[in-house]
Symmetry: D2
Subunit: 315 residues, 4 copies
C-alpha cells in the first residue's frame, strides 16, 4: 500500500483532527502517502486532494473541528456518482479510504466498499448515536462543553429561582442529555420521546418548590422534545414561567478533551493498520476500552439500543 485517502463527513466533532494526526503518523511509519479529500465525499468528485504531513498536523491535535472540512453532498447516494468516485480514487493511485463521520458517512463508505474499494470508517460524531460502540469520537468533549454551559446557567438560575429547559444535541440518541444531566444533578432528564410526560413534569416542579427547592433544571434531548415545545406546554398547562436555552453548536466546538484526543489518535492509527491488513467495508468501535473492527453493514443494521450508560447509571 503506497497511498491512501481520508475524508471527514457529516457534522464535525472534536477529535477529528487528532484522528487525522493518528492516520498520518501511522502511515508515515509505513511509508504510505496520505491525501485528504476536502469537504467530504464531494472532495473526491471535485478531485480536491491535499497531501497531509505529520509535522503540520501535529499542531492541530488540540484544535476542534476538522481541517479537511465537511459539506453536505446528498448526490453521493446515487450509484453513478459512487462509481465516478471509485474511478477517480483509482486514477489517483489511492488504494484505500478512511471515512470519519456519523451514520450518513457510514452509508457513503459502505457504498464504496460495495464497489470493492477498500474502505474503513471511524465513528466521528458528538451524538454517540452509532450502534455497537461505547463511544463515538467527539462525544466526550460535547458532554464537557454541555456541562460547562449548564454550570454557567445554573448560577444564574439559582440567583433568580428560574425554571430552565436546556436543549442538548444527540439526535435520536439521548446520551448527551443523560451524561450532562446526571453530572449537573438536573431535576429531570428527558432523553427520549417516551420520557416526556407533561403532567409529571408539572407535578415535579410543584413538589420541588413546595420542598423548598429554589430552582429547576430540565435537560432535554433534541430528539425527545425541543426547549421551545417544553416551554410552550409547561406554560400552557401551569402558571410556571420557563426559561430556555439551546446549547447548539457550542457543544461541538472547542479544544478536544483528553479522551477524544487519545481516542482520535488511536482510531486513526488503527484505521491505517486495518487497511493494510485488508479491511474492506469495516468500521472501528470501542468497547470496554478496546478498539475493535466491525462490519459497516452490521453496524448500520444494528439498533442503537439503550444509551451508553456510564458506570451502570440508573437512568
Amino acid at each position: 500500500m503506497q497511498k491512501i485517502a481520508v475524508l471527514t463527513s457529516g457534522g464535525d466533532s472534536p477529535g477529528m483532527n487528532a484522528a487525522l494526526y493518528g492516520i498520518i503518523k501511522e502511515a508515515e511509519q509505513k511509508n504510505i502517502t496520505v491525501v485528504g479529500c476536502l469537504d467530504g465525499f464531494i472532495g473526491i468528485i471535485k478531485e480536491n486532494f491535499i497531501e497531509l504531513k505529520e509535522k503540520e498536523l501535529s499542531k492541530y491535535i488540540n484544535i476542534g473541528g476538522t481541517l479537511l472540512g465537511s459539506k453536505r453532498f446528498p448526490d453521493f447516494s446515487k450509484l453513478d456518482i459512487q462509481t465516478k468516485a471509485h474511478s477517480i480514487l483509482t486514477q489517483h493511485g489511492i488504494e484505500g479510504l478512511i471515512v470519519i463521520g456519523g451514520d450518513g458517512s457510514y452509508h457513503g463508505a459502505l457504498a464504496l466498499a460495495n464497489l470493492h474499494f477498500p474502505v474503513i470508517a471511524i465513528p466521528g460524531t458528538i451524538d454517540n448515536d452509532i450502534p455497537l460502540t461505547d463511544l463515538t469520537l467527539g462525544f466526550h468533549t460535547a458532554i464537557e462543553n454541555a456541562v460547562d454551559a449548564i454550570d454557567k446557567i445554573s448560577t444564574s438560575a439559582y440567583s433568580h429561582g428560574h425554571i430552565f429547559g436546556v436543549e442538548v444535541m444527540g439526535r435520536e440518541a439521548g446520551d448527551i442529555a443523560i451524561w450532562s444531566g446526571f453530572a449537573t444533578n438536573a431535576d429531570a432528564i428527558i432523553a427520549k420521546k417516551s420520557d416526556w410526560d407533561l403532567f409529571n413534569v408539572i407535578q415535579n416542579i410543584e413538589n420541588s418548590f413546595e420542598a423548598g427547592k429554589r430552582t429547576q433544571m430540565y435537560i432535554l434531548a433534541e430528539g425527545a422534545i425541543s426547549a421551545e415545545e417544553f416551554k410552550r406546554q409547561v406554560e400552557k398547562h401551569s402558571s410556571f414561567k420557563v426559561r430556555t436555552l439551546m446549547l447548539g453548536h457550542i457543544q461541538r466546538g472547542g479544544t478536544p478533551s483528553v479522551t477524544d484526543r487519545i481516542l482520535g489518535i488511536k482510531f486513526g492509527q488503527q484505521s491505517v493498520r486495518s487497511l493494510i491488513n485488508g479491511a474492506q467495508g469495516k468500521c472501528l468501535s470501542v468497547n470496554n476500552n478496546t478498539i475493535e473492527e466491525l462490519d459497516i453493514s452490521q453496524v448500520l443494521k444494528a439498533d442503537k439500543g439503550k444509551p451508553f450508560i456510564p458506570y451502570g447509571l440508573d437512568y
Copy 2:
C-alpha cells in the same frame, strides 16, 4: 453607623458576590453589621434579612450569580410600598442601603433616597448599559463568556463553511456585541438598530465568498436584531442558509473574571465608605480606572450614548 443592608436586584451579574465580600470586609473593619435582603427589594418588604459574615463570604468571590438572590418586584414602583420599605428598614435599625443592580434597581434606590433614606447604588449588570461609567460589574466576564462560546462555534462554522448569526445580550447597548465581535474578528457587528442593513449584509456575504472566505460570523446585539429575524431576512432575500445561536444565560454565568472580582470588591468597599461619609442617592461609577461617586438622578437622566469603546476601537 452600626448597621447597613445590601441587596442585589435585576439580572444577576458575575462579580456581585465579590461586591458583597468587599462590603462585608470594609464594614467589619468599621464595626458595622451588614444584613442582606433576600431576592432584592422584595426582601425588605418580606423582612427577609440574613446577617452576612466575611468568613463565609470569602469563598464566594469566585462564584458567579448572587448569593442574595434577585427576583422581580414591580410593585416597588408604588409609593406606599416604598414608604413601607423605608419604615421596615428603620425599624430594623438599618441606617443605610447598598443596591447592586442595573437601571431598574437604580430607580428603586432613588425612590428610597427621595424618602430621605441613605442609599448608594453599584452598577451591577452584564449589559454595560448604565450611563456615565466605563464599566458595569459583570460586563468583563460576559464578554469573556461570549468570546469563549463564539470561539467554539467558529471551529465548527469553519469545518462546514457555515454562515452564523450569533445573538448576544446587552439590551439597548451594543457593548457586548462590539467587544466580542472585535475580539473574534467577526465579519460584521450589528450593535444597534441603525447598523442593520439587509442589502449590505447580503452583499458582504457574497463578496466574502467570492474572495475565497470559507465562513461568515455575524454578531448581533439583542437590541439591534434577533438571530431569528436575521436568519429570516437573509434567507428570504438570498439563497444563503444561515445558522443561528442565542448565547443567552451562558453569558451571565460562570466564574467572574479577574477584572470583575477586583472591580466588585472595590465597588463594595467604596460603597460602605460612601455611606459612612453621608452619601445620599449616590451611585458608583468607574472612569479612567478611577471609582467615582455620582448622583443616581444624574445617571438616570443621562444618555448611555456611544458604547464604551476599548482603546478607541474603530466601530
Copy 3:
C-alpha cells in the same frame, strides 16, 4: 441501618464532593442518617462529626477538593487508636463507615474492618495507583488539568524553541504521565524509572532538532524522575538548555470533569448499598465500565501492574 459515617483521607481529589453527594442521596432514600468525620480518621478520634444533608451537598458536586477536609494522622496505624475509633463510632450509633481515599486510607479502612466494624472504601486519588481498578476518582480531572497546563506551556515553548521537562504527579504510577503525554503528543514520556535513559533522551533531542523540529516536550512522572534531576542531567551531559515545570497541586484542583462527577456519584451510591448488603472490608472498583466490589485486603496485596492504558495505547 440507621446511621453511617463517611470520611475523606489522603490527598484530596476532584470528585470527592460528588461522592459525598451520592452517599447522602442514596442514604436519604433509605432513611439513613449520614455524618461526616472532619479531616479524615482523626475526625473520629476527635469526635468531629457533622450531619450531611442532600440539599446542601448538591451545590458542591462541581467543586473540587473535599468539604470534609483531610489531614495526616499517622497514629491511626496504632491498634489502640483503631480500637478507640471503633468504640467512638459505636457509641455514636454509627453502623458503617465509608472511607474515600488512596492506599493509605485503604489500610486505615482495613484496620477497622479487622476489628469487625463494617467498612467500605472508595478509590479516591488523582494518581490512579490503586490496583484492580481501571480508574480512581479524580484521575480524569487531573489529566484534563495537566493537559490544559501543558497546552499552555506549549505555545510558549514553540515561540522560543525551548526544551521542556514537565513533572506530573502519580507517585509510583505513571498513568498521569502517559495519558497527558499522549494527548499532547509529547516527544517522550518517562513514566517509570526504567524509562529513563539519559543517552537516549539526548540523542532524541539531537535527532529532533536535526529533523527541523522547533521544540521538545518531555513528560516526567514524579515517581520516575524529577524535573530538576532531568534538567541537571541533560544539561550536564549536553549543551542543551532545559526549562522545567512541576505542575504540582494545579493537577488536583478545579472543577471535576464530567467523568469524575458521574463516577463520584455512582461510587457514593453504591457504597451505601454495599454497606446495607453487609459489605465488610470491601472496596469499590470500576472495570470495563462496571462498578464492582472487591476485598480491600486483596487490593492491597495486588500489584498495580501496568498503567491503565487507554484504548490499547502503545506505551
Copy 4:
C-alpha cells in the same frame, strides 16, 4: 511606504499574534507589504523573512505565543551588528520596522532608530513592567491564568489546611502578584522586596489559625522572594510546614483574553499608522483607555514606579 517588517522579541506574551493580525490588516488596507523576521532581531541578520497575509493570520488571533518566534540574540547590542541589520533591512526594501516585546526589545528598537531607521515598538510582555503604560500586551491573560491556577490550588489547600506560597512572574514589577493576589483574596501579597518581613508573615499565619482560618495563601512576586526561599525561611523560623508552587510558563500561555486580543489588534493597527506618519524611535502605550505614542528613549529612562493599581486598590 510599500514594505515594512515586524518582529517579536523577548519572552512571548499572549496577544502577540493578535498584534500581528492588526498590523497586517491595517497594512493591507494601505497596500503595504508586511514581512515577519523570524525569531526576533536575529531574523534580520539571518535574512529570515516571511511574507504575512491577513487571511492566514486571522486564525491565530486566539492562539497564544508568537507565530514569528523569539530567540535570544545578545549580539544585537553591538554596533556593527546593528549597522548590518540596518543595511539588510534597506537592501530588502523595508521602510519601517515594528518591534513587539519588553524592555530588552525596546533597546534593540532604539538602536536601529538611532541609526535613522524608522522604528516603532509595541509593549509586549506579560510582566507589565514597561514604564508609562497602564498595560502591556499579555498582562491581562497572565493574571487570568494565574488566578485560574490559584483557584485550583485553593480547593486543595482548603481540603488539607495547607499554607501555600505561590510564586508568580513579573520580574521586578509586582503587578501580576497584586492583581492575582487581590482577585483570589490572598492572605498576603509580597509584591516587592520591601514587602517581605518574615516575622510579620509568621505572626500573620499564627493569628489566622488562631482566628479559625483553615488555610493560608501567600502570593509572591518572583522579583520579591522566590517560593523556595519563602518556604525555607518560614519553616526555619517557625513550626509551620509550607507548600510551594511556581506558576512559571503556565502564566504566559493559552488563549489570549478578550482584553489582550483587542489591545493587540489595536496596537498593531496603530503601529502601522504611526510608521506611515513618520514615527521614529517611538513606542505605543495605553493610558486611561487611550493608545498614545511616546519616545522609546523617554520610556527607557522612566521609572516603572508603582505597580498599575486597578481601581485605586489599597495595596
